[in-house]
Symmetry: C2
């Protein structure tokens, strides 16, 4: 594997856009990334698109990747849709990294896109009808149990959980692309409608439409386009499950994905300047700051309470606003995290800039409902 | 990219299995491939699964790849579902090839699986409800137009088309895994129910459930397992469309995919001993024997009429029975073609063996309904 760099990123605004199609969202992100990189459609040699629901206005259920890419003039090349639940976008990024790293291609595009509201939307509303859904194992149900376990085992409090939402809303208010750029208080989080006890509406990420894209390039080829090289230190994917733990609050796959990513990138958690973490629920960010090695097991609640993970703190987590504020268009999320990493590492993150950021980590996990099968990705970028 | 070989393949019987789940079909194929290769689940380092409809009995719409692999003890590794319509399985094979060829992994598994009947099935029945479907652009509608164009332009006859079905049924009768191992006559093909004029039921591939799997390995690592090394000469994917042709009977992407595959593998059509071709309709095999360079443009009808492409002929096409007889479980098809190539190249194809086969080609195309977007793959294996 040779060195791979990211030379351009783009994303749509995240929000509810019932009148836009999945193709429109994907194309807007792809154009933005190409413009940012200064490349033309014909420069792209291979592309991967992360998408879960593939629900299009036309009713089609295949080739959404080709449809998105064709519409921005990227044609004739290998284009593949990948799906790994909430890690679909980060999986697309990883496949693009392998394709360039292998030496097969000099330039790749990773796109992530999801359309969850309005025309063409649909299947996610049926989670409640699945066997898991009927048994209460919807994502809120599962995370509510994890929250209760974490509270019982480590003394994590509802206030600590609420503070994750407060922090990420505060960060996201500084992000012009965020879905809910409005601050909230601990009291507002606790008093918002109960979704699945103890998780309230504001403990949960919203339903979001959006797209994101990134252009990856070999180090040699990249120098023709930019001097701001952002290196891919690692793009690790782990799937399935391990037998080693029966503690539902801990995800062994996330721990191992992080471990392998640190080895790949030649850094440890102590070398990171910030991280984008899959905060689908407030408790998820707490658990994951532990799994990723940012603090000891059971100390994730304290980490947010003490202000360590806020902008200006020692180790900002989710400076973009995270899923809780920026939004969570499933297939787009992993690529949008990469966009945030690149902007931060280039010093282009505006009001939410992490000063002097040199190394950033992005984490996604998807699946892991009742059966505990799913996928986790950890991406590390360095300047 | 280093040399990659296939050391094991497996597939389920193809047919209508309304009581089996997509997980069961995928797992049966994966077990068979591991057994054939003589490897254990823990030897697999990365896996890709091709699947279009991802419709599971549980109602879930994500992580079918992880579910299938977990059930055969393949856990903890990177597992990714890919979807490129009817090229989903061959795309999974290609990604596995890149993952091993890049040097990242020594052993990969590619699985293809599809569940189109009974419990958990569904979405494909809705093609008729899509915008394209309402406009008549279902796959039979599109291929009927292509057939008419080919007949008008090149003088291809209904009898020549029927002879593709007659040939592939004759081949498939020798394949214990085929869905319809029963010979038919030209008259039976023409008199079977009209689906979309001029295409009859027997001009069309059936609805099929099934799974297939392949184990890919670096050349060095492979020698620990077998002396029957089957080399991946090429695994090319092309997508989108080209502007260069407006002749609906010709698919420029297929031509370019074949061209690139021949360059990669260092062979030409004249060096092939046989091929598995995506014969979703009888006319499709005719057109594709032209696009892949097995004969000149417009001569595909003559090729089958003269017996060149039958077993015992100069250049057998679809010795397995093809989609028309073996069946077409969408995501599984591309990997099942690879299985046939491997059995033929090892001399293990039994009654349907192509004598002395040393080089084989497998072709899939998917998508390409009204918008003419889709994907084509060409895989070349050599012993």
């Amino acid at each position: 594997m040779r060195n791979v760099v990211v030379i351009g990123v783009g994303m749509t605004n995240f929000g509810k856009f019932p009148d836009l199609t999945v193709e429109q969202l994907g194309r807007e992100a792809a154009w933005a990334a190409m413009k940012d990189a200064g490349v033309r459609p014909q420069d792209i040699q291979v592309a991967y698109l992360g998408n879960l629901t593939e629900r299009r206005e036309t009713g089609h259920i295949s080739c959404v990747a080709q449809e998105v890419l064709m519409g921005v003039g990227v044609r004739g090349i290998p284009v593949t849709r990948v799906e790994n639940a909430c890690t679909s976008g980060s999986t697309a990024f990883r496949e693009a990294w392998i394709a360039v790293g292998s030496g097969l291609y000099d330039m790749a595009m990773a796109v992530g896109v999801e359309k969850l509201t309005g025309r063409g939307a649909g299947p996610l509303t049926r989670i409640g009808d699945t066997i898991d859904g009927i048994a209460g194992f919807s994502p809120p149900g599962m995370w509510a149990m994890r929250a209760r376990r974490h509270m019982a085992q480590y003394g994590t409090t509802l206030e600590q959980m609420a503070k994750v939402a407060v922090k990420n809303r505060k960060h996201g208010k500084l992000n012009p692309r965020a879905q809910y750029p409005k601050e909230v208080t601990v009291e507002e989080v606790r008093k918002s409608p109960m979704i699945c006890d103890p998780l309230t509406l504001l403990d949960s990420c919203p339903t979001t439409d959006g797209g994101a894209a990134a252009i990856l390039c070999s180090e040699e080829a990249a120098k023709r386009y930019t001097s701001k090289l952002i290196y891919v230190g690692a793009a690790v994917l782990k799937s399935g499950t391990y037998d080693s733990t029966r503690n539902i609050a801990i995800n062994e796959i996330e721990k191992r994905a992080a471990q392998e990513a640190y080895e790949w990138a030649g850094v440890g958690p102590q070398d990171l300047d910030f991280a984008e973490v899959h905060d689908c629920f407030t408790i998820a960010e707490i658990v994951r700051t532990e799994n990723l090695g940012f603090c000891k097991e059971g100390e994730g609640g304290k980490l947010v309470e003490e202000g360590t993970t806020q902008l200006g703190g020692k180790f900002p987590v989710n400076p973009s606003g995270g899923l809780l504020c920026k939004g969570h268009p499933i297939g787009a999320t992993g690529v949008a995290q990469v966009a945030e990493l690149v902007w931060q590492l280039r010093g282009e993150a505006g009001a939410r800039q992490v000063n002097g950021a040199k190394v950033g980590l992005a984490h996604c996990s998807g699946g892991f409902i009742a059966q505990d099968t799913g996928a986790s990705t950890v991406i590390i970028l360095k300047r």
